[in-house]
Subunit: 209 residues, 3 copies
């Protein structure tokens, strides 16, 4: 099931962005727990589920060892994120700043997810789907656990920005661009599109039957 | 984890029904997105999650490579299904016709799921469960994502029809019937029971404590 | 993915507690189906999902073969549990007794989950997380399927008791205590903490922003 492939040799900068993405998503899980007036244990549970949920699903689907199971660091990042949100008064967190961090995490995580899938020999269309899943599934799990409508159901450009990053990476890799360059273009494009959604309120048209 | 078994050599007709089932379930996901007035991106997300969700869970549980990861075709079927629902005005889709297509997909998918589990060396009772899961989990995931009560919570004969197909296939295979014959009997029986539920309103008694 | 390790050689008593935990959680799933006035098929679906959900997620994450796939007994326990709840009038089930059975199951299941993860070479922090997941994920899946707020969102000491058992087992194993002794201490401590929550109404403080 796990092919004897080397793990993907992505640019070191992207690996850093991977940890950055985990931390940002963990914070967003803990913030929802704060909004729902939960206990510290629930803060940690939400931070972990949101921080590692998307990448976990990706690894299970592509047959890779789940990335956080053989190391302590990843879960500790999520736990520290939860404790930080608990300690810092929420009023002091600039919600707007978090939106922008989250946008950066979204582009990087979608790109990283697609790149890891390609490195594991996944076909192009599913590799694209893996990028979208990696970036979005954590937030969906967070919303389902909290019993609130998921990010999927809002018209703003969120999944779409993840799809842009994942699609660009797979497309550019197919036409032979160097992985590091494809990753850079893909991550920045998704970040820019999500930024436009935040800054200018861009959204997609909804279905009118 | 993945035994070195050949993938199941099911009758070609059933493999066609497998694709048919994926398409039908993908359409049902996109129709729910339409009902909820979602964007095209959400249509695609729902179509994919509903179309491949049940089979994905089955493959993860039995330790098989996830069926849509090493090919582009399966996801493309789901994407085309989502686009079709977006383009065709919904009023023109005969809801009744869709119910019957769905019934056909249900019987085929439950049978195919049980047959694949048997081919991977799964024990009889879990193989039966795999058939039920393959047919029902996609719809459950769809309902949870949309935040609505799942098909599980309705008294109509839906899960029961899947259970009939899965149970018949496993039982007939155990007593030595040829796989293609067992599959035919199982798929048609589940379809017939689901058809009776649609046509005559058959349902199960609910619990009265 | 699956290391060629022997399955964990846990004390026989703990293996019995594992089956006890599955049965208790299956009963709790069927009881929710009863409360929601569901059909017998839904009783069984809920009993199976709640009874094996947590352990299934654990096995997928650590790369172990899913524990109920190659045997008939586990699912049969869940099915018998569902039938029993259906037959016995619910008024005759002492809700208080069930809470205490559930507390015993929680401590045992959290300990068993952590022990299995350690036996499969999982790092300490993720092994702790596996114990918590094994004990809690079944109940979370049950609540999400039924469309009700999950156990996560209540302040009572539930996840915390699981965390105590899982954390103690991993910690005591790290400092070299014999597995059977660590398991005993861990399971009883989680049971005691959950018992205090039931008997004395202990709960955690909620976040006040």
């Amino acid at each position: 099931m796990t092919p004897d492939l080397p793990t993907p040799t992505l640019p070191q900068a992207l690996v850093l962005l991977d940890y950055f993405g985990i931390a940002v998503f963990a914070v967003s899980g803990a913030l929802l727990a704060a909004e729902k007036r939960q206990t510290l244990v629930t803060f940690i549970f939400f931070a972990v589920a949101t921080g590692v949920g998307g990448g976990t699903l990706r690894d299970l689907l592509i047959g890779a060892p789940v990335f956080w199971v053989h190391t302590n660091g990843t879960l500790l990042i999520c736990i520290v994120a939860a404790l930080s949100v608990w300690v810092v008064r929420r009023g002091r967190l600039d919600g707007r700043a978090l939106l922008w961090f989250d946008a950066l995490g979204l582009g990087a995580y979608a790109t990283y997810g697609a790149a890891k899938a390609v490195a594991f020999g996944v076909a192009p269309v599913p590799a694209f789907a893996m990028g979208v899943l990696t970036a979005c599934a954590g937030g969906i799990i967070r919303d389902v656990l909290a019993g609130q409508p998921s990010i999927l159901m809002r018209p703003e450009l969120y999944v779409t920005a993840a799809a842009l990053s994942a699609g660009l990476f797979v497309g550019l890799a197919l036409v032979g661009m160097a992985p590091w360059a494809a990753a850079l273009v893909a991550a920045l494009s998704g970040f820019a599109l999500r930024g436009a959604a935040i800054g200018r309120g861009w959204s997609l048209p909804a279905y009118r039957g």
